[in-house]
Symmetry: C2
Subunit: 203 residues, 2 copies
């Protein structure tokens, strides 16, 4: 009984797809079962309930994303170098999983407190965030960076990285951009965002 069944991973893959596509409320257990090509009762056999299956998925996404942050903004380097890492690795991750931000943010805005708590814990490793914030303040005092409240800086950086993926359906239609081209724009964006940030942050 070692093989950690194929079925289990099939279910998880199917559940990811459906949950991410439709959200918790919109997802149907039957649809997940169909997608996984198994019987509906299998879902309950492996994961007891919709809620628990959902949490497994959500958790796996949080655990997939959190290291990106931590690795990017902790360790060696100036703030700008760290932001550079963050922009580049995060956009890369999102290019592979463009629907995750909407999924996570939508569910969090439904008030899933336990998920928010989990995210906080994952990012709390090594005091990563406060250390980063302090480095911002230090570099501002040294005159490297312009004086902006650190949380505004964080908001700005994350906005530029994440929002284009969330707003893809509108932008793509408004600006009449073909599907393939949108990915290319996101690719370009790594550099554009960095140029923008350097102009706006560096003194």
């Amino acid at each position: 009984m070692v093989r950690q069944t194929d079925t289990e991973t099939q279910i998880l893959e199917a559940a990811k797809k459906i949950f991410v596509q439709k959200g918790f409320a919109g997802a149907r257990m039957q649809e997940i079962a169909n997608e996984a090509k198994i019987n509906k009762s299998m879902l309950h056999y492996y994961f007891r309930s919709k809620e628990l299956l959902f949490e497994k998925i959500m958790t796996s996404y949080i655990e997939m994303t959190a290291p990106n942050f931590i690795n990017a903004i902790s360790g060696e380097g100036t703030i700008i170098e760290k932001i550079e890492r963050l922009v580049s690795t995060h956009i890369n991750t999102l290019l592979k999983n463009p629907h995750i931000p909407m999924f996570i943010l939508h569910e969090l805005s439904q008030g899933r407190k336990n998920m928010i708590v989990m995210m906080k814990q994952r990012l709390a490793v090594n005091n990563t965030l406060p250390v980063f914030m302090n480095q911002i303040i230090k570099e501002q005092e040294e005159g490297v960076l312009k004086q902006v409240l650190p949380h505004h800086l964080m908001l700005t950086v994350m906005s530029l990285i994440v929002f284009p993926f969330i707003a893809k359906p509108i932008f793509q239609n408004m600006l009449e951009i073909p599907d393939a081209f949108y990915n290319q724009i996101m690719e370009e964006r790594k550099e554009i965002v960095m140029n923008f940030l350097k102009d706006a942050l560096l003194k």
Copy 2:
């Protein structure tokens, strides 16, 4: 027979609240009825179906937001002045209706094509968007603005305005910001975003 019933507006208010809070899939007709303090069959009497009621709400939000754009980016003024109007009026609107962006973007990412089409139509008045894009190019050629593809510029501006409202649940928890203070940050943001944008866009 004139008074365009009180009940009707009560229902619409309730529906707004519940749909915005839970999304289409998560909203329950019974809950809307409770919120409106009327019987469930009233909902169907006035709006036939969940789908139609939902579309009414969605439409009203689109019609509430679109003029913001059009007024801001059309008419007199340089690109920077227009962006200034856009940032200021849009953040003001969102301060009053912080949940609308998540609502609209989530539903659009569920593939509600008719809604996307409607948005496009609303913004198509007077060729607003193409005219604005051309003005960007013109000012770039004149050497006022830095050379960035117009759609990147648009993406950037909208990201900075909208994302902080969408990501509020995470940020507020991550950065441990009390509720009242978050609104203040959004208020500050009008100026901060403009400073960012001027630094990054102007030559």
